[in-house]
């Protein structure tokens, strides 16, 4: 929903009802801002929005004191303290004891008892001594909270009786009556962050009520009115150092607040209170300061009311109407108030300046290429610096059992309020090669400021891990199936070489590689069968030992196998990947191997120069390479060479496949 529409809804809600509300004037930050509900993130003033308690880090302690300025003011009053605890990550509990949230009323009597010092004034005390709340975070952006608030009303009513002292002498004796009753209110709140810099909250106040008996009905006119109210609030940070807030209630009360951080750890606040029920419309203005040092935070505020007529501590009986008291901290009889508070954050309270905005996996993991994942990003995490200082952020990813430890990225500098993408590279262990088929694993992605060991935030991401024989279809990916150092491959290749050592001895040294390749290929003449891949979601490629054992395979399997064999005896190979345009079903792959023969001696290799290719070898020297159609090896080396040379001539020389890009040559090693 657009922000503008939300604001309109808030204003409309504020105009709609006519019931009670409560302002969280208990906390100086709350009283300075006025509109505080959407900004609750700790135990301070949590009764404005208990759902905000999920913003606590661990333990949260809080105490506050205040003094009333002007006529009727006194010394500092212990307002109360609050304690909160976040547990199991997503749950929070808080308790507030606030004996200072009270309004004592003395109704002065119009008479006095002659000759006696009896108290004739009636005293009424309205107290909100307790509040307790529980909050749960449903998602990263949505939290719910419930709270119970206790309100106590005490009436001390002086009564008298005539006592006959003697037969002729009467006296008045006091029969002071004290009445008391408690009322518990149940509130429900929800907090929602539609965006990182926007927070919304809604609170149903007094939805449930339980009142004990104890005050006779003759004092009904002194009772506070209990009605339900609905409050909406919004907070918006247009830029990191500025925070704006808005609040409205069906009780026709609202507020606007602003907080500005001119420097880190220092906050300047102001707020305007609006009352749609009683004039003036803007009935109070709040100012405040906040300063944070390590895990302490001190707040101070001053609230001044625009109408001072009945705030001097004395009011005429005609002007005193308890139904006007919607809140003990802020009502028509409250004097200007200065508050000071101290907050301490205990336990696991490390700042988490870096937040995860999103995790994106860039593809799936092929076990055959797991080594490449150490250098090639498997995904990226978008992090945001929510602090007021530049931070150096790093990210890590960990997949249980398939990684020995989390793989960390290099630190990335992030400016305040800035979001950056950090690539995630993963170092898998060998167990990943044992994954038989496609599987999905949970990866834990964490971000932290580089200077800290503990992480700031973590997120889960799903990683698709293919089976050990799955191939991503690229010739680059096929290289990872080539295993020249596999013992079975080495053994097979060396055995063939050993069997043909006599014939090798007769070959000139410059043609040795060609001869060894021919010997290797001819050893499989008649011993290999071309078999298509099993039906599979992805390309299926056998590792060389598997092909050697089964003696079957398709073009990729055979290409991989002979590439492994040739490389195991020191002959460089390259894949020729052919994907004919508009005919992807005829894609094919065959092999090139390096003869090590200089082009000057091309005649020694073949009298037909179209049967070989000149290209640079691994050493940078230009040598003669021979194409091999590996599926034809079963018919012998010469046939495989002939077929390979023909295919190369057709696709590259005639079809200009290399120039057009539908033929690619990828070096294996």
């Amino acid at each position: 929903m657009p922000l503008s529409r939300s604001v309109v809804l808030l204003i409309l809600a504020g105009m709609a009802g006519s019931t009670a509300c409560a302002q969280a004037i208990f906390a100086p930050r709350a009283s300075a801002l006025g509109a505080y509900a959407a900004l609750v993130q700790d135990v301070r003033g949590f009764t404005a929005n208990p759902a905000g308690l999920t913003g606590m880090k661990d333990w949260d302690l809080y105490t506050t004191t205040y003094t009333t300025t002007g006529p009727g003011g006194g010394g500092f009053v212990f307002s109360g303290f609050g304690i909160g605890k976040r547990f199991f990550d997503n749950h929070a509990l808080a308790l507030q004891y606030s004996p200072g949230t009270t309004l004592d009323v003395v109704q002065r009597a119009s008479f006095r008892i002659a000759g006696l010092s009896l108290a004739t004034n009636r005293q009424i005390s309205y107290i909100e001594p307790l509040a307790a709340a529980y909050a749960v975070r449903v998602t990263d952006r949505l939290a719910f909270g419930v709270q119970g608030r206790m309100q106590t009303e005490k009436i001390t009513d002086p009564q008298y009786a005539i006592q006959q002292v003697t037969d002729s002498l009467n006296a008045i004796v006091p029969l002071q009556q004290q009445y008391s009753r408690d009322t518990w209110f149940g509130d429900i709140a929800v907090s929602w962050k539609p965006a990182e810099n926007v927070s919304l909250s809604a609170l149903g106040r007094g939805l449930v009520r339980s009142t004990s008996r104890g005050i006779p009905s003759k004092f009904d006119t002194l009772a506070l009115t209990y009605t339900r109210a609905f409050e909406l609030a919004a907070g918006w940070s247009p830029a990191p150092p500025v925070l704006l807030s808005l609040q409205a209630s069906t009780a026709k009360r609202g507020a606007l607040g602003a907080e500005w951080n001119p420097v880190a750890d220092l906050s300047v606040r102001c707020g305007f209170y609006a009352d749609g029920g009683l004039p003036p419309f803007i009935d109070a203005v709040g100012f405040g300061l906040g300063y944070r040092y390590l895990f302490f935070e001190a707040d101070a505020s001053y609230v001044r009311f625009t109408n001072q007529s009945v705030r001097g501590g004395t009011v005429a009986s005609a002007s005193f109407d308890p139904s006007l008291i919607k809140d003990l901290g802020m009502n028509p009889f409250t004097g200007n108030r200065a508050s000071v508070s101290l907050r301490a954050m205990l336990g696991n309270i490390r700042e988490a300046p870096v937040r995860i905005e999103g995790v994106e996996m860039l593809g799936s993991v092929y076990p055959s290429a797991f080594q490449a994942m150490a250098y090639r990003p498997v995904g990226r995490v978008r992090v945001r610096n929510t602090s007021r200082r530049p931070v150096s952020a790093r990210a890590s990813i960990y997949v249980d059992r398939l990684m020995d430890r989390p793989s960390q990225s290099q630190p990335v500098s992030v400016q305040p309020g800035e979001s950056v993408d950090i690539p995630l590279t993963a170092v898998f262990n060998d167990r990943v090669k044992d994954v038989p088929a496609v599987t999905i694993r949970e990866a834990t992605v964490t971000v932290s400021s580089a200077s800290e060991d503990a992480y700031d935030e973590h997120a889960q991401a799903r990683v698709l891990i293919h089976g050990r024989n799955d191939w991503d279809g690229t010739p680059e990916g096929l290289r990872y199936f080539v295993t020249p150092d596999d013992p079975d491959v080495i053994r097979s290749a060396r055995a063939i070489m050993l069997a043909g050592k006599d014939s090798l001895a007769r070959v000139p040294a410059e043609l040795g590689q060609l001869r060894r390749a021919k010997l290797l290929c001819d050893a499989f003449t008649g011993g290999l069968v071309y078999v298509k891949d099993p039906r599979h979601l992805t390309e299926f490629v056998q590792y060389s030992p598997e092909t050697l054992r089964s003696r079957t395979g398709d073009c990729t399997d055979l290409t991989v196998c002979f590439s492994s064999l040739l490389n195991s005896i020191g002959i460089s190979t390259a894949f020729v990947d052919v994907v004919p345009p508009r005919m992807p079903e005829k894609a094919h792959m065959y092999l090139l191997f390096d003869t090590g023969v200089s082009p000057a001696y091309g005649d020694h290799v073949s009298s037909n120069p179209k049967r070989y290719i000149m290209r640079k070898s691994r050493s940078g020297r230009e040598t003669i390479w021979i194409p091999l159609e590996t599926t034809a090896i079963t018919h012998g080396f010469d046939r495989a060479w002939t077929d390979g040379a023909q295919e190369y001539f057709d696709s590259v020389e005639l079809g200009l496949g290399l120039a057009s890009g539908w033929v690619r040559i990828v070096d294996v090693y």
Partner: protein, 299 residues
Amino acid sequence: MKKLPVIFACLLFACQFGCQKPSPLTVEPPADAPAGALEVTVVSNPDTNIAVSPVDSSGLLPGDQTQYSGLFLVNTVKYDNGHGLLSVAYASAYFGDRKRPFVVNGKTLGYWGVDIMPMTTLPLKVGGIVMTRVPFKIHVGTRDTTFGYMYRAVFASLQPKSSFDWDDQQPDPIMSPTAFHDTVQTPEDLRVLAPAGGSVLSRTKALQLRWVGGGPIRIVISTYNVLTGKTRPVLQLKPDVNTGSAVIDPSLLALLPLARNYVFTFVIANRSDRLLGQQQQDRTLVQAATVYNTYVQFQ
């Protein structure tokens, strides 16, 4: 253990700066009934064997009457029962001889009324009007017994704020060695607006009293026996300042006995106190008063 300093700091903060209680909101009573402006006295009923004049006619509480040997009264008394206003103006003079008590069955019922005007050629006058000597009667059982004398004069009306001279030109050689002269000024006229005579009132609601008439005023609330016509004062209310109104708190009304009929006696009196005889007990009260009785019922 590392957290202990933090907790101590918080507690220290709270204790150091939070030792005061919030100032209460004081709700002042209405302007016509300022706080503490009404002095309430429970009326003691002294030895009621002694004959005294009822407060609704004399404007004097029984206790006040027994303090004095002599009473020289000039009163305008009004009675408002809701069916009409009856007004009576009179003067009376009585001086009791404390050495001659009237005792019946060991109880003192009164004192001999001294004839303070034995010679008809030098009569007792008030405002220049000769007072009539009448027998002083004491009620014994069902009959009245004459025990001395007293003096009375009846007027059609008394002008408010006018002076009345008591003039005893032939003093009693025993009681007073010198002639008795005194001057008293009648107070302002008194008219009670609330409660009106015949009103039915609630004990649980504040009762508004309103009147017209300046001067030091007292309001005496008495039970009233409609059969015998006798009153028994219960409370006396005395505003510090006569503003013409007062409010009686329900907690005070709760003090009243559970009788139905009451009379509110508003008294504005000018009084002087002088020693007429030789003994301290021979004190004499000279009073000019306006008394307004309004008869009401309590639910």
